[in-house]
């Protein structure tokens, strides 16, 4: 009958849409942002580990690491988070002088055109989580091996990268309500479609 043909057409259309959506999700849409997201963090860690070999001057290493950490903080907070996963956080000062921290996440549109790709999201969160952990490990190793002169740099690394981690986790947690409501509505639609298709098969 005609109604079942319509429903079959709709589900085929959906399958095509899903395949194209899946291929879109695995592509990296912002290669430059992804590169810089990891570049500053990893090079700060590499310089810290190889400073003895690279140059005999402690100051050059320290200044380089400080500059890399600052650039990384700025890039991750202002650019890569917004581009790669659609999250952002900032500080706003009211007219009466009180400061508020705002955490935002980009709303996903119904067609799913603006969903972030999975690989970008994976790169982002991987870089965001592992680097502060590595700096905390460096902090403990500097403390226990009494290399106190490195402690300032390591603390700065922990604070800056930890701040970004905390900010983005709060953005993510804050948007969980949206995510769950989206997920339930999507699952509800799928469930409805399957039950209607099954009913049609049994009747026809």
């Amino acid at each position: 009958p005609g109604s079942s043909d319509d429903i079959e057409d709709v589900s085929l259309f959906d399958a095509d849409d899903e395949v194209s959506r899946r291929s879109k999700k695995s592509k990296i849409r912002h290669p430059v942002a992804s590169f810089f997201h990891l570049f500053f963090r990893v090079s700060a860690i590499v310089v810290y580990l190889l400073c003895e070999l690279l140059t005999s001057s402690f100051i050059a290493c320290m200044v380089t690491i400080i500059l890399l950490l600052s650039c990384d903080f700025w890039a991750v907070k202002n650019v890569t988070g917004r581009l790669m996963v659609g999250l952002r956080w900032w500080n706003q000062v009211d007219d009466d002088g009180r400061s508020h921290w705002k955490f935002e996440s980009r709303k996903v549109s119904a067609q799913g055109h603006k969903t972030s790709s999975e690989s970008e999201s994976r790169i982002f969160w991987l870089g965001l989580i592992t680097c502060p952990i590595i700096w905390v490990i460096f902090a403990f190793s500097a403390l226990f091996s009494f290399k106190v002169k490195w402690l300032a740099v390591v603390m700065m690394g922990v604070v800056l990268q930890g701040a970004n981690l905390y900010g983005y986790i709060r953005c993510k947690v804050g948007s969980r309500k949206n995510l769950t409501s989206m997920a339930t509505s999507y699952l509800g639609k799928q469930f409805l479609r399957q039950t209607v298709a099954k009913e049609d098969q049994t009747t026809s």
């Binding site: 402690f58 100051i59 400080i66 500080n91 000062v93 002088g97 002169k149 300032a152």
Partner: protein, 160 residues
């Protein structure tokens, strides 16, 4: 340059200026140790830590005394007010290139005292505004001490 209306200026705080000033001041204070074996490394870290730790302690102090200024705004002000002392450091280094006698010491003393007064007055103008009147002295004293320590480091700097 002497700040009059403080609250609106402070709204857009950023910590880039203080970072650059701190790093340049710490770099310029290099090579002043009597121990020539070390490459001046710990002193860079010392100056860096003194400036940032001192700024954090002053901010916490003013917040605990009931100040209305936010944490990062206060850090921003204290960091930017290190600029006159950085200029003083530059002048001192140039004067020391010319010679290190009594005359140069007097010149350096005058310059450092003038810049120290400017730094302290400027940051006090911002930070004391946010305090109730009977507590202003409690906020000003740590700022005075902070810039005094930095000025002392600048004045007692002797190149190798």
């Amino acid at each position: 340059m002497y700040p009059k209306k403080s609250s609106t200026l402070l709204r857009d705080w950023d910590l880039w200026g203080p970072l650059v000033l701190c790093v340049s001041l710490a770099l310029m204070l290099q090579g002043g140790s009597a121990d020539s074996k070390e490459d001046g490394g710990p002193q860079f870290a010392e100056v860096f830590v003194i400036i940032w730790f001192g700024a954090v302690v002053i901010t916490l102090n003013s917040k605990l005394l009931g100040g209305t200024i936010s944490f990062f705004q206060s850090l921003c002000v204290l960091g930017y007010c290190v600029l006159p002392l950085t200029v003083a450091m530059l002048v001192c280094r140039l004067v020391l290139l010319a010679g290190s006698g009594t005359v140069s010491f007097i010149i350096r003393l005058i310059v450092v005292i003038a810049m120290f007064a400017w730094s302290t007055l400027a940051s006090t103008a911002f930070l004391a505004d946010s305090q109730p009147p009977h507590r202003k002295a409690l906020v000003v004293y740590p700022i005075f001490l902070f810039y005094f320590v930095i000025s002392w480091m600048i004045l007692t700097f002797t190149p190798q």
